[in-house]
Symmetry: C2
């Protein structure tokens, strides 16, 4: 007890800077001597070099940790070309759509021992720029981004020209010559709309999304194309633009139920809007899936367990994340990566939230 107390008070009497300096004083040779390996091996192991066998690397890092050695990556990254850091910036990690993409990016980067730094831009260009500046200042290796609404191609070109290769997910930026990984949105809402049409629905509303993003324009176009191909009326008032969250979908239920000529079905922007809308419909005393048919988009984990289980469009978010991370790693390893758009083909998953139309009084 006594000596433990002394040690702590001794340490806390020193500033954080001094403590760091003390930790740095342990030399590579101390570790090398203790384990009977070369200092070069120690240095490589601490930098996670594949040139050192996994077991040796673990033994060295374990010993280094035990004696309190902290490898200073900042100093080292000035000498080597890679910092081991990748930035990821999306609209909002609270959106499970992005969370599912991030999870697959993470597991891909983990395998290559890259650290990822995350930020939300909430569709504010300034916030996105601050983050890119931070990445440039840190000497990050690259960035994966779902670009904020209104991102000019120059912002991405500037990052690339300063040695920060970029890969886009979910949204395109016209004029930026980088790889893009996203679902085929127009095809996807086409699948959902055609499913509703095939059940006999003629008056179908589109709830949520915005024309300010490529995704928004494409999803609306897919719905319009399907309606027109089937010879059905596309009424502007049947489009409730805006909602992208559960809360907003819930709040849109009143407006939807009050629409003129009562649409019998709603093709929703995403699963969050669809689940919120279904909750709002239920709160109004109607039964979603029976009185009103509802489709979602994304096939989030919770779509299958919603009440009723949601008919939705699988959007391949894990696939998007995996391919984007892997393309960035290829770029970092000097491989040629084509700056083209890769569209992942969505699939319709039919569940209980859609059925034959019922005329409301």
């Amino acid at each position: 007890m006594e000596s433990g107390f002394r040690k702590r008070s001794w340490i806390s009497s020193r500033s954080s800077g001094e403590r760091k300096a003390l930790a740095q004083k342990i030399k590579l040779s101390t570790i090398a001597d203790a384990l009977g390996v070369s200092t070069a091996t120690v240095s490589l192991a601490l930098r996670d070099s594949p040139l050192v066998a996994g077991t040796t690397r673990d033994r060295i890092k374990e010993h280094a940790r035990a004696i309190g050695y902290i490898y200073n990556r900042r100093a080292a990254s000035l000498r080597t070309s890679r910092s081991g850091i990748v930035g990821v910036v999306v609209h909002d990690i609270m959106n499970p759509f992005f969370a599912e993409i991030l999870r697959s990016i993470e597991s891909e980067l983990d395998r290559s021992r890259q650290t990822f730094i995350l930020s939300n831009h909430y569709d504010q260009l300034e916030k996105q720029r601050t983050f890119i500046d931070t990445l440039l200042q840190l000497g990050a290796d690259g960035v994966i981004m779902s670009p904020a609404i209104g991102t000019p191609p120059e912002d991405i070109i500037m990052a690339e020209e300063n040695g920060l290769p970029a890969v886009l997910i979910a949204r395109t930026v016209e004029g930026a010559d980088v790889p893009v990984f996203r679902g085929d949105d127009a095809y996807g809402t086409g699948l959902a709309t055609n499913h509703l049409i095939s059940l006999g629905h003629k008056r179908i509303a589109m709830i949520g999304g915005t024309d300010q993003t490529s995704t928004g324009r494409d999803r609306y176009q897919g719905y319009v194309n399907a309606m027109e191909t089937a010879g059905l009326e596309v009424r502007p008032s049947w489009r409730i633009a805006g909602p992208r969250t559960k809360q907003a979908g819930f709040e849109a239920a009143g407006q939807f139920l009050a629409l003129k000529d009562k649409p019998t079905a709603a093709c929703c922007w995403n699963d969050l809007v669809a689940i919120g809308l279904m909750n709002g419909i239920a709160r109004a005393g109607l039964v979603p899936g029976i009185d009103i048919s509802v489709t979602g988009y994304d096939d989030l984990e919770e779509a299958a367990i919603a009440t009723p289980a949601l008919t939705t469009v699988w959007n391949g978010q894990r696939e998007v994340g995996r391919r984007a991370a892997s393309a960035l790693l290829d770029k970092l390893n000097g491989q040629m990566v084509r700056p083209s758009q890769e569209l992942i083909k969505p699939e319709l998953h039919v569940r209980q939230s859609t059925g034959k139309p019922v005329e409301r009084a």
Copy 2:
């Protein structure tokens, strides 16, 4: 067009390292001369120093961006004591409970122009250690963590002694002498259980959570205390430990409905489990809030719009995030921060998912 094309091909013929070097060649004095300020002012402005007025700082940064100057924070951070980076590590950002905490940490750090680096540990000690090592290697200023199950106090002490001050959220680690911000969990489940008891429920199950975390132990204890105080039986088989997600709550519905002597109410570990359980109960043909009463925990944004609207315990996650970030910033600014546990008092929010008990056949 012609010259634009030339510029691009000229740039792409150089390696990323060379491009970085070119960007660095623009001198501070170039910016200073152009704007008629001193190089010291430029240097301070690019480091976001509060010594430079906001408008001047913005003008300098805008000009620096326009001419392609990239401030190298890595090199600078070797000269100054702060890197401007704070690490945050939690179990899983896909959990909206943590997402809501993160959002308030983010807005607090934003105001102090700190960048935050995020990581999930998925309750794997090794993943948490790798992240802390990364923070130490980057020279991060501090870490906010919801510690992984089984975190030994030594891991936190080691970080602190190496100049990485830590603040804990949501969970405690016995023996680690750092500030902890969390809700008063035992008090919270006590509120929920007493609410069910006051409605007339006598057979109440506890669904979800684990004894491996302080939160898990405290929430279960709050339920047990309330039951015992009311003279009600605490039956071990009425505790379904484990579930913490919507999916797991959904899957637990079958087990819950099959329990001996049919409990009439479920006190759930969190809102996710409660919403999943309600969906599972509905899928089995019963009406949650009428046939079975269900309480949640956290008062996530979606609790109010669930079907039925969820009676739950507000857990102050935004408050936890705000106070934790602010305590860390105080620590970084050299202010004295007491290494004590700060318990946020939860509140009961009664909605439609609880009612008088109904005996099932």
